[in-house]
Symmetry: C2
Subunit: 243 residues, 2 copies
């Protein structure tokens, strides 16, 4: 049986403030939890209902605590508790490997951020750099829409993106931004040491960042004013890495 | 002043059943409502708060009814009423123009469907064909995430997609499906009379549809199992129409 206090403590992790304080976040659902286990994420605890617990493949010394549907429903961030959730330690030692970086400047929609992490992972890009004023990558909606890719990628949140990009530029990285006004994206050059910067849908990439390198645009000829940012990331990464 | 009955009637349109019965749907927010006006959609009524009503540019004989924040909040589908909403007649005379068709087979996520309509519109594709078991394209979340593109496109919901596609094939359309196993998407041929079919993330395009034409895949080399369907649509359309 779960105590009321345990439920209250767990639910706190739906709030950014407590995720930062505790250094933990929640992943819900069989696929997400299984990805966390398989990717060797630092798992604090796993709670599952009797019905779902047998479907989890455990490869190491992990204990699954059994909970009831009702207890799960009290702790979930979704409409219907998916039968299993895990508390994971937020990695504090994230490091970028060699290779390209996907960078987000002020992306505030959690569904978009999760989809972008998933898309980067699809194209084999493991380095994600996030600006100070983007949504928290450990927000439950980001975690869910990343479909497990949050456990395959290194995510670094910077406190000053402009400074971080200037530093990368000094270290021979090219800074490539996606913007409304830029060169045709089919002209984009494939180079390993490149940071691909995508901005928020409402404000785009900041001017100071655009100035650090080249800008490219996705050409359309219809009547929509803009593309969704996750769609733009997909198009750009396919253009560069899709062949 | 708005009567309780008016509020109840309006709120009904958040449900598919009543949208079908009344042949009407709701668009909320300044951008969406303005797009409806500019695209000459059949507007039944517009409600706006005192603060927002002056921002709406009306080009024809339309009356804006003033409502309070509280009345708006009672009728909205969003967390915070964006100050303006309009009731629109669902077009009953949608026809496809010449040219390519974007087709959705069992796409159930409203955010994805709206983003797909917006993406098609960006690339100048005005024909959207939707399978019988997809989400209702006049669902508030579809309307919102289409960012006005729902007013620039012809959307046809078929009661039997397989039959509809066989008919199109008889009329010399190519049927091109995006699938997990297919030819490299960079090999896709550009032809005007083509239907591009995208399936649900969980089930993909149905086998009977795949058999009607060629299948293509987006090549990845990372660890994600799949791409978001709206991202796949963006990549495919950019590949064919982006140059």
């Amino acid at each position: 049986m779960f105590s009321k206090a345990q439920i209250t403590e767990t639910k706190k992790l739906h709030q950014k403030k407590y995720r930062k304080e505790y250094g933990q976040f929640i992943v819900e659902g069989l696929k997400g939890v299984q990805e966390a286990i398989d990717a060797n994420a630092k798992i604090v605890s796993i709670f599952a209902t009797q019905a779902v617990r047998h479907e989890i493949k455990i490869s190491k010394d992990l204990v699954i605590e059994t909970i009831t549907e009702t207890e799960g429903q009290k702790m979930t961030n979704t409409e219907t508790f998916p039968g299993v959730m895990a508390i994971i330690s937020i990695p504090t030692d994230q490091k970028f490997s060699h290779g390209p970086i996907v960078c987000l400047d002020r992306v505030s929609d959690p569904g978009n951020m999760g989809t972008i992490i998933r898309t980067a992972d699809w194209f084999g890009i493991k380095n994600i750099l996030i600006s100070e004023d983007s949504v928290d990558p450990y927000n439950p909606k980001v975690v869910r829409s990343s479909m497990g890719s949050i456990f395959h990628t290194s995510i670094i949140e910077t406190e000053n993106l402009i400074e971080a990009l200037r530093e990368l530029k000094k270290n021979k990285y090219n800074i490539v931004s996606l913007a409304m006004e830029g060169k045709d994206i089919s002209k984009i050059k494939v180079e390993n040491n490149t940071v691909y910067v995508f901005g928020s849908e409402s404000h785009g990439v900041r001017e100071e960042i655009l100035e650090l390198g080249d800008s490219y645009s996705i050409l359309g000829h219809g009547d929509a004013e803009s593309l969704n940012v996750a769609v733009s990331v997909g198009i750009t990464l396919n253009q560069v890495f899709g062949k």
